[in-house]
């Protein structure tokens, strides 16, 4: 039982399922198996990217599918042969048809009593995808639950289109439901009798583009990712591709040729969201990007540059340790901005307007506007600030626990 969603107040027991309010689901059935930890979710957009051969990294990004398709991969632990038979029976009858799929990753714990005949539920809806005229699952246990349709959704109130049938006391979940269909092959594996593990993938039918994302900070009208990505036990990869092609006819000399002045820079980041609010806000952020179309500013959160003297509030020329920027990078169009990250978390973004080598030890970077604050030696982190987009239209979300997820993304720097 510990493999289920951790909430000790919720009782799971093996008995006949009571199906309430089934009449509202005339053509779909509730998927009433509780998934195990490790839910995998995907959001998928479609974007056409046109790249002119201008050599400076320009691109036109056209969103062909702006409303993402959401999908889930649920693992179901079936603890008795009866549950296995029940699961198989549901697949036999409904695998080609529609389900009302509880989105367990967005469940909200509810404690006050819900009384039969109530037409409203007081619940915080701000971090879950409850929708007007959508389905909601009231889940107390495997035997105590019901599905009901909403009329309207407010921040702390669900108004229902019919009366609740049962009475629910104590801890329970209020879970938004989506209409879904099973995709691909549904598998069930018996590891030991009678224990079985089922793997089932759902694609959501009633997708929607979520709005309402507000960036913590913006620069030049685009959001800044203000927290560094998570590493944990994962590797963080950076890649650089020369954007060249090989001319080689096997018999003679060969050459790598390129028409561009930059390399395609990729960064692999993992964002770790540890509260339901963070998860929801990151979801809104992803929706605001519309797949590969949208761009945002991402500091490297490294000490890319080390300033060699105090930076006054008014100066625009900053001396840094010589890392051969002037020789090697000059004004690469993909890396023309800096983020000055202060100890208090403030991020000051500036554009690079010039780079010159002072001597073998120092270079001077000129920024477009003074910082406005004095920064002592070692008093800030100077990171390159890249304008990025997602490398893929598919975003995989790995739910490690309820209300905690990891989002692994490969990001590409684009022309600012």
């Amino acid at each position: 039982m510990s493999a289920f969603w951790k909430d000790t107040s919720v009782i799971f027991k093996d008995s006949d399922v009571v199906w309430k309010n089934s009449s509202i689901l005339s053509d779909i059935v509730l998927f009433d198996f509780v998934p195990a930890i490790g839910i995998k979710e995907s959001l998928e957009w479609v974007t056409d990217i046109l790249m002119p051969r201008d050599g400076i990294g320009s691109e036109q990004r056209i969103s062909i599918r702006s409303i993402p398709r959401q999908s889930f991969s649920y693992t179901i632990l079936l603890q008795t042969e009866k549950e296995q038979s029940q699961f198989e029976a549901m697949m036999f009858g409904w695998q080609k048809k529609g389900f009302a799929l509880p989105i367990w990753t967005e469940k909200v714990t509810h404690t006050s009593t819900i009384i039969a005949a109530d037409r409203t539920i007081v619940v915080d809806t701000t971090n879950s995808d409850f929708r007007d005229s959508g389905f909601v699952l009231i889940w107390k246990s495997l035997t105590e639950y019901e599905v009901i349709r909403t009329v309207t959704v407010a921040d702390n109130l669900l108004t229902l289109d019919s009366s609740i049938v049962g009475t629910y006391t104590g801890n329970k979940f209020i879970i938004p439901c989506r209409t879904a269909q099973v995709s691909g092959v549904s598998k069930r594996t018996n590891s030991e009798v009678p224990f079985s593990r089922a793997q089932i993938n759902f694609v959501i039918k009633d997708n929607a583009l979520l709005s309402g994302y507000t960036a913590v900070q913006e620069y030049l009208g685009l959001p800044i990712v203000t927290t560094g990505s998570f590493i944990g036990q994962r590797d963080k990869e950076y890649s650089s591709e020369s954007d060249s092609f090989l001319q080689d006819y096997d018999t003679g000399d060969f050459d790598y040729l390129s028409d561009s002045e930059f390399n395609i820079i990729g960064q692999n980041h993992t964002f770790y969201n540890v509260t339901q609010a963070e998860c929801w806000n990151f979801r809104l952020f992803l929706h605001s990007l519309v797949g590969r179309q949208g761009t945002f500013w991402l500091p490297t959160y490294r000490n890319d540059l080390t300033h060699t003297e105090t930076i006054s509030a008014v100066e625009t020329g900053i001396n840094i340790q010589n890392i051969k920027l002037a020789d090697n990078m000059t004004f690469n169009t993909l890396r023309t901005h800096l983020a000055f990250i202060l100890p208090n978390g403030t991020i000051i973004c500036r554009a690079i307007t010039n780079i010159v080598e002072v001597d073998d030890d120092e270079e001077t970077i000129t920024i477009d506007t003074a910082l406005g604050v004095e920064v002592a030696m070692g008093g800030c982190t100077i990171s390159f600030l890249d304008l990025c987009r997602q490398a893929s239209d598919v975003v995989d979300i790995e739910w490690t626990e309820p209300n905690k997820n990891l989002v692994n993304q490969v990001l590409l720097a684009v022309k600012a």
Binding site: Q60, I62, I64, R65, I67, L209, G294
Partner: protein, 452 residues
């Protein structure tokens, strides 16, 4: 942001295509986007559909587009059932947000199904059925106008017969209403001599007035040699009052009579014909009401200054061709008179005014369903079938109706047209709008053996 601005923007383009498919009065409105969209007051439903790329080849006017529809879509089902009874057209709108442009317009030319039974429709632009870009009609003897189309100009409702089915057996249907309209007075009064009781009068040579109404352009009514060529008139008198809406005249030449030495006379066609005329109606042969003209067809035009009631005939063109006028007339008259009050002719010789033929076209129509050839159709509910033949009360249709059409089902039937001049003239009285070229040579004048 405008459509153009979105199209060229770096990262604001979010195109969605809307497909407005029309078949008769049926509309299917589909959207390629993820949610339903409303455009011009209509809702376009988000469904699984995919439009191919609009290609550009050497023949841009013929570049079509493929559209994959949802499986089981009604258009696909109809295509399986048989030949579509009506033309299917498509208008594709493309939008960013709420800013729309028309992206493609065309008509359905083909429906096929892939291995998953997904209907794939191929639409070609309207320009693809033109023989060459910029042209609109193919030159041919048969009329190319769509029956009851806007170039044909006939009001379909005037040629409708309604009733109920008496018997139905596959493609054979009988109804007493089919026969009720079998032998009525023709709508086009070309050969009035076949109508008993009609009389014809002219101010001179009255005994030959009938020749202008006999349906034969080789016979004429004419004024005697040396008779005044001004203020001549000719009329017909019906046995019952009729509302005439169009009059068609074959004027013919002004002729000169020359007596030969043998006592016979010779006719020399001159470069002239009737010049001005006016149409009037009467119910007693005495009190005449001038009937205004609203449309002039052929080599004639409004004789300006006469309040739209007089016609000026072109000097050259009308000598060998029909001219026509549309009358603004809702009154049934027993008498209709053509008053020719002027003429084109040299003034120093002796001439005669000739009129080859006059046709009168009534507002009513009581023709039988004449379904030889395209266009005749029977409609039950919203289902249409083409009538391939009719014998009395029995018609044959191109393919059977479904099981819902039974004895007693109400129908509307519409007359067909063989697109030949005689049918257009005698059946519909629509020669003015005939779209074929009767005199088109059958032999190419630019081919054959050299003469020198």
């Amino acid at each position: 942001m405008t459509y153009e601005a979105s199209e060229i923007s770096v990262s604001s383009g979010q195109p969605v295509e809307l497909y407005n498919i029309a078949m008769g009065s049926t509309r299917w409105r589909l959207s390629s986007g993820g949610v339903d969209k409303v455009h011009l007051g209509h809702t376009y439903e988000s469904v699984p559909c995919k439009c191919g790329e609009l290609e550009q080849t050497d023949e841009i006017p013929k570049d079509g587009i493929e559209l994959e529809l949802p499986r089981g879509h009604a258009l696909g089902v109809l295509a399986i059932a048989g030949t579509l009874e009506e033309e299917v057209t498509i208008t594709i709108y493309r939008c960013h947000g709420t800013d729309y442009v028309i992206y493609f317009k065309g008509f359905l030319t083909n429906v096929r199904f892939n291995e998953n039974s997904i209907p794939i429709c191929f639409f070609e632009p309207r320009s693809s059925d033109l023989p060459f870009v910029g042209g609109r009609r193919r030159c041919m003897r048969l009329c190319g106008h769509k029956l009851y189309g806007y170039r044909c100009g006939l009001n379909k409702e005037n040629y409708k017969v309604t009733g109920t089915i008496d018997t139905i057996d596959g493609v054979t249907i009988t109804s007493s209403e089919f026969g009720d309209v079998g032998e009525a007075v023709p709508e086009v009064y070309g050969d009035l001599t076949k109508l008993a009781g009609c009389t014809y009068v002219a101010n001179t040579n009255s005994s030959y007035a009938y020749r202008a109404f006999d349906g034969n352009v080789s016979t004429d009514w004419n004024t005697p040699s040396g008779y005044s060529l001004t203020n001549n008139w000719i009329y017909c008198k019906w046995t019952a009052a009729r509302t005439i809406r169009k009059i068609r005249i074959r004027p013919g030449h002004i002729y000169k009579y020359v007596w030969s030495t043998t006592g016979a006379y010779l006719l020399y066609p001159g470069e002239g014909c009737m010049k001005h005329f006016r149409v009037a109606g009467s119910n007693n042969g005495t009190d005449w009401t001038t009937i205004p003209v609203t449309e002039w067809v052929g080599n004639c035009e409004n004789y300006s200054g006469y309040g739209g009631s007089d016609t000026l005939v072109d000097k050259i063109g009308a000598m060998t061709e029909w001219i026509g006028v549309t009358l603004n007339n809702d009154t049934a008259y027993t008498y209709y008179r053509i008053w020719v009050y002027d003429y084109w002719v040299p003034s120093d010789m002796t001439w005669s005014l000739f009129i080859n033929e006059i046709e009168m076209i009534a507002a009513d129509n009581t023709m039988a369903i004449y379904s030889l050839g395209g266009g005749g159709e029977i409609v039950v509910g919203s289902t249409r079938r083409t009538i391939t033949s009719q014998v009395g009360n029995t018609i044959t249709i191109n393919r059977p109706f479904g099981a819902s059409v039974v004895v007693g089902s109400a129908f509307s039937a519409y007359q067909g047209c063989t697109h030949i001049p005689g049918i257009c003239r005698d059946k519909f009285g629509n020669s003015i709008n005939y779209g074929g070229l009767e005199g088109l040579p059958v032999k190419n004048p630019y081919s054959g053996n050299l003469l020198y």
